[in-house]
Symmetry: C2
Subunit: 324 residues, 2 copies
C-alpha cells in the first residue's frame, strides 16, 4: 500500500515522461505549459490510490491517472477563457500568454489526449472505464454551465447549488476513484461505493471552501479572505443568507450586493456580520458534516479489510481540515 | 447495397431521433441548433456506405455515423469562434446567437457526445474504432492549427499546404470510411485501403474547391467567385503563384495582397490574370488529378467484387465534378 505522497511522486514522474507531438508547436506547447504549472495532482493520485486499495498494480493505473489530470487541465484551460481569468497558479493563463483561439484548440486536443490515455487499460474494462470517463466529462461540462448560469440569476436554491458543485467538482473525484477501483479489480458494487464516497467528499470539500473563504485563517490557507463576498459569488453562505435574511439583514445584504463603490474591507465585514446574524456558517458546517458522514458510510460499505482503507481515510481527513 | 441518397435519409432520420438531455438548456440547445442547420451529411453517410460495401448491417453503423456528424459539427462550432464567423449555412453561428462561452462549452460536450456515440460498436472492434477516431480528431485539430498559422506566415510551401488540408479536411473522410469498414467486417488491409482512398479523395476535393473559388460558375456552385482572393486566403493557387511569379506578375500579386482599399471585382480580375499568366489553374488540376488517381488505386486494391464498389465510385465521381 502506498501513501498519498508516494502516489503524487509517481504522477509527477509520469508527467515528466509524458510526451506530446512537437508540431504544430502552437497546439502542444500550451498543453505542456499548463501541465507544468504544478498543483497537488490529487485527482490522478486518487486513481492510483483506489487501484492500490483493491490490490491492483499501481503501474497499470498510471496512464488513466494521467488522463484524469489532462482532462482536469483541459477544463481549467477552457474555464479560464470563459471566466476571463488572467492568472492560474500565479502564472499567465494560456489565453493570456497566447490567445483565446489557441486556448480553445489546445484544450480540444487535450480532450483527445485524455481519451487516448484513458484507453490504456485492459480490454476487459475498456468499455466500463470509458463509460465512466464520458459520464464524468459530461457532468463537469454541465456543472460549469450551471455555474455560469447562476451568475445571471437573482436567486439560486440550495439544492441547485449542491447539484452544481456535485457536477462541477465532485463527480471528477468520484470518477477518478471509480476508474482506479475498476483497474484494481474492484467489484461493480465496490466501484460504486468508492464513487459515492468521492462525490460526497467532493461536495463537502467545496462547502468547506465556501466557509474558509469567509472564516478561514489567511495565514493558514493563503487565500484572500472575503474574495467570494467581494465578487458576489453565489456560495452556500450567500444562497442561504439570501434565503433567510429578513428586515435589517435583508436590507444590508441587498445594499452590499448592489453597491458599486466601497471599501473592500467594509463590504467583507458587513456581509460577514449578516452571515453571523443568520448563523449561515453553522448551517454550512452542518450540511458539510452531513456529506462527510455520507462519504464515510460509503467507505465503510467497501468490502476490503479496514486497514486497506487507511490511506483513503487519511486522504479524506486531510482534505477536511477541522481547524480553521 | 444502398445508394448515397438512401444513406443520407437514414442519417437524417437518426438525427431526428437523436436525443440530448434537456438541462442545462444553454448547453444542449446550441447542439440541437447546429445539428439542424442542415448540410449534406456526407461524412456520416460514408460510414454507412463503407459498412454496406463490406457486407455489414448498415443499422450497426448508424450511431458511429452520428458520432462523425456530431464531431464534425463540434469542429465547426469551435472553428466559427476562432474565425469570428457570423454565419453558418446562412444562419447565425452559435457564438453569435448565444455567446462565445456557450459555444466553447457546448462544443466541449459535443466531443463527449461524439465519443459516447462512437462507443456503440461491438466489443470486438471497440478499441480499433476508438483509436481511429482519436487519431482523426487529433489530426483535425492539428489541421485547424496549421490553417490558423498559415494566415500569419508570408510564405507557405505547397507540401505544407497539402499536409494542412490533409489533416483539416481529408483525414475525417478517410476516418469515417475506415470506421465504417471495420463495422462492416473489412480486413485490416481493406480498412487501410479505404482510408487512403478517402484521404486522397479529400485532398483532391479541397484542391477542386480552391479552383472553383476562382474559376467556378457562380450559378452552378452558389459561391461568391473570388472570395478566397479577396481574403488573401493561402489556397493552392495563391501559394503556387507566389512561388512562380516573377517581374510584373510578382509586382502585381504583391500589390494586390497589400492593397487596403479597392474595388473587389478589380482585385479578383487582377489576381486571376496573374493566375492565368502563371497557369496555376492547370497545375492545381494536375495535382488534383494525381490525388484522384491515387484514390482510385486504393479503391481498386480493395478486395471486394467490383460491383460492390459502385456506390463509392459514384460518390467519388459526384464529388469531383469535371464541368465547371
Amino acid at each position: 500500500m502506498k501513501k498519498l505522497a508516494e502516489l503524487q511522486d509517481i504522477i509527477s514522474e509520469a508527467l515528466n515522461r509524458y510526451t506530446l507531438p512537437a508540431q504544430p508547436a502552437e497546439l502542444y506547447e500550451p498543453i505542456r505549459y499548463i501541465l507544468t504549472l504544478g498543483g497537488k495532482r490529487l485527482r490522478p493520485a486518487l486513481v492510483l490510490m483506489a487501484c492500490d486499495m483493491f490490490g491492483g498494480d499501481v503501474e497499470a493505473a498510471v496512464q488513466p491517472a494521467l488522463a484524469i489530470e489532462v482532462f482536469h487541465n483541459f477544463t481549467l484551460m477552457h474555464d479560464d477563457i470563459m471566466d476571463n481569468a488572467p492568472l492560474r497558479r500565479g502564472k499567465a493563463t494560456v489565453h493570456e500568454k497566447w490567445n483565446s483561439n489557441i486556448a480553445i484548440l489546445s484544450g480540444d486536443v487535450m480532450m483527445v489526449e485524455a481519451n487516448k490515455l484513458m484507453m490504456q487499460v485492459d480490454d476487459r474494462i475498456l468499455r466500463p472505464v470509458l463509460d465512466i470517463f464520458n459520464e464524468t466529462a459530461q457532468g463537469v461540462c454541465e456543472g460549469q454551465q450551471y455555474d455560469m448560469n447562476f451568475e445571471q440569476h437573482n436567486t439560486v436554491a440550495v439544492e441547485e447549488y449542491i447539484d452544481m458543485i456535485r457536477l462541477k467538482t465532485a463527480v471528477l473525484l468520484g470518477g477518478a476513484l471509480r476508474i482506479g477501483a475498476l483497474i484494481g479489480g474492484a467489484s461493480i458494487a465496490d466501484a460504486e461505493n468508492i464513487y459515492h464516497f468521492g462525490v460526497n467528499l467532493g461536495i463537502a470539500f467545496q462547502l468547506q471552501d465556501d466557509i474558509l473563504d469567509v472564516y478561514g485563517d489567511p495565514k493558514k490557507f493563503g487565500k484572500q479572505v472575503g474574495g467570494d463576498i467581494l465578487s458576489n459569488k453565489k456560495t452556500y453562505l450567500l444562497i442561504k443568507a439570501l434565503e433567510l435574511a429578513k428586515n435589517d439583514d435583508a436590507i444590508n445584504l441587498h445594499y452590499w450586493l448592489a453597491a458599486r463603490t466601497y471599501e473592500p474591507a467594509e463590504k467583507v465585514a458587513a456581509v460577514t456580520e449578516v452571515y453571523n446574524n443568520l448563523q449561515v456558517k453553522q448551517q454550512a458546517e452542518e450540511a458539510m458534516s452531513g456529506y462527510v458522514e455520507k462519504a464515510y458510510q460509503y467507505l465503510t460499505a467497501i468490502s476490503v479489510a479496514e486497514n486497506q482503507k487507511q490511506f483513503l481515510q487519511e486522504f479524506a481527513d486531510g482534505l477536511m481540515v477541522r481547524d480553521y
